[in-house]
């Protein structure tokens, strides 16, 4: 397989762009957060379009406003995730298409129309350093948390797939307002169990790669438990009654009651919801 080297110069990194992959596995016992793509499914599809079965490191973009140029080399990439009009030297490319880039090409990703996270997978590999089994940015394990203007991303490009090899059209998200959950360890102690499944919940502005706070409040008469493990998808209830969904960069233990657990497959669906958007928790049927 022909491999060629090159690099991308980040002109505008947007609000929060970084390199992410499947994240770190097995370092919880030293307190290391997992990191990884906020929307794993989109990142996986972008890689699959390039005939890569693993979630190889992707450029993860939050809300758009990104501009980069290819300084050297050639590469084939695919964008999947949030909806936006990506342009190469001014020509529009929809996400889901294979895109060939070569030296001098300028790519602009305007603010997103819908969704929050967009992934650019690359045929081959980004050359960012691997720390503890993952390329995912997480400071201070990696030098930086996110990309800054002027940063360079080296890549090793693999042999291109044929042009128009395939195209992923608009993706249909089933039950977009339904987030599948399992009751968490402290669920049974709750006063307002039923409300969790009958009322809509709203994503708030307070969110990051660490967690998403929801707008609604739930009555909380629980005592805070001893610090216990939390995972991406764990929903904690604060003493004030707010719900916090732990996301990819969340710490590995938490001191609030753990009331729900979002199904791994729906974590990305929630991540793509913008502040103000509503959804329902759908209790998963029994699984034993």
């Amino acid at each position: 397989m022909k491999i060629s080297k090159g690099n991308i110069l980040i002109k505008k990194p947007g609000t929060y762009s970084s390199i992410q992959d499947k994240g770190r596995w097995g370092f919880e016992d030293k307190g290391i957060p997992r990191a990884g793509c906020m929307d794993m499914l989109s990142a996986r599809l972008a890689n699959l379009m390039l005939e890569q079965e693993e979630i190889f490191p992707c450029l993860e973009i939050y809300m758009g406003g990104v501009e980069f140029v290819v300084e050297s080399g050639r590469c084939q990439v695919c964008f999947i995730g949030a909806a936006t009009k990506i342009t190469k030297n001014g020509d529009v490319f929809e996400p889901g298409m294979l895109m060939e880039l070569q030296q001098g090409d300028k790519v602009e990703i305007p603010p997103f129309q819908t969704g929050q996270w967009l992934y650019m997978a690359l045929r081959g590999r980004f050359e960012t350093p691997e720390v503890l089994g993952s390329h995912s940015f997480f400071y201070p394990l990696t030098d930086k948390a996110r990309l800054d203007p002027g940063d360079r991303l080296g890549f090793n490009s693999a042999e291109f797939l044929p042009a128009r090899h395939s195209y992923l059209g608009e993706r249909i998200v089933h039950d977009p307002d339904q987030i599948n959950v399992y009751p968490g360890p402290d669920f049974e102690k709750l006063v307002e169990k039923e409300r969790l499944f009958s009322d809509p919940f709203t994503v708030s502005r307070q969110q990051s790669r660490m967690g998403i706070m929801l707008e609604e409040k739930l009555e909380n008469r629980l005592e805070d438990p001893l610090s216990s493990p939390v995972f991406p998808g764990t929903v904690q209830l604060t003493p004030g009654g707010k719900l916090i969904v732990m996301m990819r960069d969340a710490q590995v233990t938490g001191g609030y009651p753990r009331i729900l657990e979002i199904d791994e497959k729906d974590i990305g669906k929630l991540a793509q919801k913008r502040p103000g958007e509503k959804f329902y928790f759908q209790r998963c049927s029994s699984f034993s």
Binding site: K30, G31, P183, P229, V252, T253, E264
Partner: protein
């Protein structure tokens, strides 16, 4: 075993073993033994393993047969491999208790009615037990802080606590491995980087930590020494 732990199944991915909700050395030792058994039994699986004070959680990458997994966790509880407990170590972590490096040292002493020397004596005498890591990468949850030093956390957390800060919050004491916001009272600073890139802290849950007081001059000499070279002995 001090009392019966139970296996709980929360989802096809997520299983936990719960011990009674208390901070206890006996429970910690049970958990360490069980965790070590699990890593052997789960060799073929891709999973995450995490610990709190009384909860051991297993999160599998892929859903699988719930009954088989549950039985596997029960087997891990019943096995009696105590090898994991035979490799425990006691580590000495140097701390400089100087106001120039510890923003809350003077206020803490004033509030507690202690001379600095008394505070240093109280803080350096216990053998602290590492229960687990959490909050920040490499942050140790330590048991054993003297009652006289218990002090409620700050109402308004500080935005930037420097890496290496040794602090007290509630009934706990700990070392901030990296710069971070935090609500604990900083009483000293450790010159060693507990975490650096892929160099994780060499300490394990079940190990003991002893803080030793050093001078400002020694603080400068200690800088850049890797954590694994800290003085330690088997216990």
């Amino acid at each position: 075993m001090i009392s019966t732990p139970h296996v709980h199944v929360f989802s096809p991915y997520h299983f936990e073993i719960h011990w009674p909700a208390m901070i206890s050395k006996a429970i910690l030792f049970d958990m360490i033994t069980c965790k070590s058994n699990l890593t052997v039994l789960l060799e073929e699986e891709s999973y995450r393993l995490a610990m709190g004070y009384h909860v051991l959680a297993v999160y599998f990458e892929k859903p699988g047969n719930v009954k088989v997994r549950k039985r596997l966790l029960e087997n891990a509880l019943n096995a009696s491999d105590t090898l994991a407990l035979k490799n425990r170590k006691r580590w000495e972590i140097p701390v400089c208790y100087e106001a120039s490096l510890a923003q809350d040292l003077a206020a803490f002493c004033r509030y507690k009615g202690l001379e600095k020397e008394q505070l240093v004596d109280l803080h350096t005498s216990p053998r602290y037990l590492i229960h687990f890591f959490g909050f920040l990468p490499g942050f140790m949850y330590l048991g054993g802080l003297e009652k006289n030093l218990h002090h409620p956390r700050k109402e308004n957390p500080d935005g930037n606590i420097p890496a290496g800060s040794v602090a007290i919050g509630g009934q706990q004491t700990g070392v901030y491995p990296i710069q971070s916001p935090g609500g604990w009272h900083v009483i000293g600073r450790c010159p060693i980087h507990l975490i650096q890139k892929d160099q994780l802290p060499p300490f394990q849950p079940g190990d003991e930590i002893v803080f030793t007081s050093i001078t400002l001059k020694e603080f400068k000499a200690f800088k850049d020494k890797p954590a694994k070279d800290l003085y330690h002995e088997n216990i």
